[in-house]
């Protein structure tokens, strides 16, 4: 899947000091994620949000193990984290969508996440049209030197409200 205009690890690192507006946005995103039962069940926590970008962490939990012989977290739980983070990136886009839903999501699993480590996903909503948002996401364990655990590309609906 070629992506000419993207460089690896291109998810932006916001460089500005957090403004009041950004602090409010983080607070809003935390409340939003807290209100989603499945995100609560997985103990997801919003680390950072910026315009069209989000970072969410999910602590290791023995209930999420996919292979009891290795203790590695199931890919499905990583999918849930990536999907949530991608959705949060869409909702924090400057065009201020009212709601979003996943249309399609493709995840590549590069390596097993190290057991007992938190997994953190970063997503960037890199393009929006009137009704579709495109998102890239990466998930890391606590050893980012090893590269991402998984990467994802997704398309999401964009509900801007008001249109009938």
């Amino acid at each position: 899947m070629p992506q000419d205009d993207s460089t690896p690890g291109s998810t932006p690192e916001p460089t500005l000091e957090p403004t009041l507006e950004e602090a409010a946005r983080l607070q809003g995103a935390r409340q939003f994620i807290q209100a989603l039962p499945h995100c609560r069940a997985l103990a997801m926590e919003v680390v950072r949000v910026a315009a069209g970008a989000a970072e969410i962490a999910m602590p290791y939990d023995a209930r999420l193990v996919g292979d009891p012989r290795t203790g590695v977290i199931h890919g499905g739980a990583v999918s849930a984290l990536m999907d949530t983070t991608a959705g949060a990136a869409v909702l924090s886009h400057p065009t201020a969508p009212m709601a979003t839903a996943t249309i399609g999501l493709r995840i590549d699993y590069m390596r097993a996440a190290t057991p007992h480590q938190t997994i953190t996903a970063r997503a960037l909503c890199h393009h929006v049209t009137r009704s579709v948002a495109f998102v890239r996401a990466e998930a890391f364990d606590e050893d980012p030197g090893k590269g991402p655990v998984a990467v994802a590309n997704g398309s999401f609906t964009l509900d801007r409200g008001g249109r009938s």
């Binding site: 209930r63 999420l64 999918s79």
Partner: protein, 167 residues
Amino acid sequence: MKRPEPVQVIKQRRDAALRALVDGVPYVRFLGIAFDRRGDELTGVLQFDDKLIGNPALPALHGGVTAAFLEVTAIVTLCWAMLWDDLEAGRLDPGTLSHETLPRLPKTIDFSVDYLRAGLPRDAYARARLNRSGRRYASVHVEGWQDNRGRLFAQGTGHFLMPQRDA
């Protein structure tokens, strides 16, 4: 000529093997996924629970839950197909089967989910088809539905790396 085995013996053996495959995976229990078996055909059943909700306003299942359910169904169906011949030939003893003695699980290489409609707050079902199941790689398609078999709420396709079996 061998007499056919009694039906209960066959069912017991197959169900014990399926239980060994499914029950040992914590995440499958966490999501509340069980498998129905008709002969060698498996249907994944995701029992609805509030913790599976991702959109409380609708309410709808979390997209990640849907993806996980399809992926679990794909992996279990793939493992089941891998075990079936050994099981039927009597090379596997279901009495001693556990996650320690079963072959290792396939690893997901990639998984792609197509969300067709919102997942409703009730049970969901999924069935996988092995498009190709080779020595090293497998390609699997999964369909998920709720009330109507013909109205899928999601489908997925994934590639898997098969475990290397002992020579």
